[in-house]
Assembly symmetry: C2
Homo-oligomer: 394 residues x 2
């Protein structure tokens, strides 16, 4: 006598977690150095030094009652101000503390937004863009929404615009984009986003209510070669941003991020009230207070991307040479590769023989690809090349 949907989600491991577990078992048998695990998106570059230094300074110098006591639900005022100030400076849009609601990372941020936008339980719809982060589905369904998605544009891995236009109906409350993208590593271009804005503006008029664009941006700071990651609210006004410091400050376990509802959003203040209420019913009390104060002092810190860049280069060159095809990965730490033979699941299975762990693309809403998370050691990348070659030629 318990919830069968929750039981289903909790009793079966995700494909990614299963691969990771398999890798741990395998490492016991053949040695850690002989397992090439590209399954998990756990940052492999440490947090900037200032993070720990700031934490220790706060612990040493501030009143423990204030450090560890409750903050207001959206976070300390001075923390929200620091976040708003950095956004204003960088994005050229006036963001105020009242536009910021700090959360325990991106996952609750997204669920809070979905719950806030769920007008009719079981009918309102979230629309994803394939390939997409697989948790969007349970996040939407858990928030009472339906989840559907736009099929992938497998040429450029930008957005399949005609398919997007076709999928939107009156129940579509929001479209969620993730740029830089997990799993493809692709950054959506300004041209793409402008066309998305056109479609959403037109469709919003047609259906008679705003169709919000949810920009899920945990990888915003992880880009290579100076590629632009446009600030989406300046392109489409009804944009709600979800951000996390997990990747930019390498703090994924600490659970700290935010929701930004800019003033240009239709009924901005009311949407923020709905966000606050939605957060309350998923158990949000406040974001971890020590970490709030830490990130407020580290908003200008950037990850040292050298290690990711090096892995990316070796992988791209090596895989190309072997004959693999993949999307142009300008951001994040993912490579989305066409499975030789055309079956991602079968290819992932085959790779296991060479202790090479890659995630088949099916859960991301595309068949025939696999994802590599290259947030691993350089040795792993270099030593895995032989395995990639064997798997390709088998």
């Amino acid at each position: 006598m318990f919830n069968q949907y929750a039981y289903g989600l909790g009793s079966k491991k995700s494909c990614i977690r299963e691969l990771f577990q398999y890798g741990l078992e395998q490492a016991k048998k053949v040695g850690r150095e002989n397992v090439f695990d590209y399954s998990l998106g756990n940052p492999s570059i440490p947090a900037p030094k200032k993070v720990n230094e700031t934490a220790k300074y706060i612990l040493d110098h501030e009143d423990p009652l204030l450090v560890h006591g409750y903050s207001a639900a959206p976070g300390f005022e001075e923390v929200r101000e620091a976040i708003a100030k950095e956004l204003t400076e960088r994005m050229g849009m006036d963001i105020k503390s009242s536009n910021i609601f700090c959360t325990c990372g991106a996952a609750p941020a997204l669920i809070t937004i979905f719950k806030a936008l769920c007008v009719e339980e079981g009918k309102s719809k979230v629309l994803g863009i394939a390939p997409f982060f697989p948790e969007y589905r349970p996040f939407s369904e858990g928030a009472g929404m339906k989840y559907d998605y736009v099929e992938a544009d497998t040429t450029s891995f930008q957005i399949n615009l005609p398919a997007l236009e076709k999928k939107i109906d009156a129940d579509t409350q929001c479209v969620i984009i993730n740029t830089p993208n997990n799993p493809s590593g692709v950054v959506f271009s300004r041209a793409t986003l402008e066309k998305v804005a056109d479609i959403l503006t037109r469709k919003s008029k047609e259906v008679g209510h705003p169709i919000y664009l949810v920009a899920d941006e945990p990888y915003r700071e992880l880009v290579y070669g100076g590629v632009e990651v446009p600030w989406v609210p300046s392109i489409y006004k009804d944009t709600i941003v979800a951000y996390s410091y997990s990747k930019s400050l390498s703090l994924p376990g600490e659970r700290i991020g935010y929701i930004c509802v800019p003033d240009c959003v239709t009924d901005s203040k009311d949407v923020m009230s709905a966000v606050a209420g939605a957060a309350r019913i998923i158990g949000h009390v406040c974001p971890p207070t020590l970490l709030q104060r830490v990130v407020a002092q580290c908003t200008h810190e950037r990850p040292d991307l050298g290690a990711y860049e090096e892995n990316r280069k070796i992988l791209m060159e090596g895989l190309k040479k072997i004959g693999y095809e993949f999307a142009q990965p300008d951001g994040a730490f993912y490579l989305f590769v066409k499975a030789p033979g055309g079956d991602g699941v079968a290819f992932s299975e085959k790779c296991k023989k060479y202790n090479l762990l890659v995630v088949p693309s099916d859960d991301f809403g595309v068949k025939g690809y696999f994802r590599l998370s290259y947030c691993v050691s350089k040795e792993t990348v270099v030593n895995s090349m032989q395995a990639f070659e064997k798997a390709f030629n088998e």
Copy 2:
């Protein structure tokens, strides 16, 4: 076009938060020392020294990738082992790490449990015991359950057993108790809990499914005069415990606690799977990792209750002398007092004239009382006595 329930929750402040805000405004006018704010339950004794020392040691000596990286969703294995070990030693029941699911505090722990136990959306029921923590209602409703409650036993502020028996029906999935109690400060006795167990055992048979008892225990460590806080699972086997370190380690802002589903619970492993799935759809990824490691090393730390004890004594003696009546507060840091004149809301309003901020009992499911949170400074208590006297005599 957003969720009206969430909007309603988010756009109106709780009565407690409103009082607190009023107090801040008032302090600007008449001086902080002249406002006697008994509204909030924010611990006023600092975290034990070992908390900050442990945090700094971890930051200095452990690999930042491990400190700040993701843990498994239920928490690090060694953290769950430390929690299980302490429970096993203290409670005389064999608790294993597999019985522990760490959460971002008690609020998401409760919502996760409710969601896991929601068999039929909009029909399954959570049953509270008045007086109760007001958030139980949005937590239940947010998880898709109905919320109902058993009227208070205003003689002892234990549990109104005949009313409990009457209220349980086939849709009742769980009964939630909070002991030591917020708002009454009362600790439910072993005798009371044994009678509750009798009723639930009988009713479970009658309705043909287990009726779970959810024991919400953030105040477990805050008791005075050596009063026993029984370990509920040893009295009723289908008990799920929700715990938070917010009050015991004075860390309310850091969001760290756990759910314990002991092996004796019917279908224990399946319930734990439902808990894991429910956590996932409210955005739980893992509990804050630095704090996980800290509490694992502080499970034996206890708060220095001296300050609360002193406040409690001065308040009890002072209020009794004036003529106030209240429940016997053996735990937590609350006093639940009968409102002179019989109207809690009117009395709370009256108190404002004397800059005395007390929370009317209506939201707790009982009329005619008010709550005092005596986690304040001793000066506040001593200096407020005149205000209590004036309000009583007006």
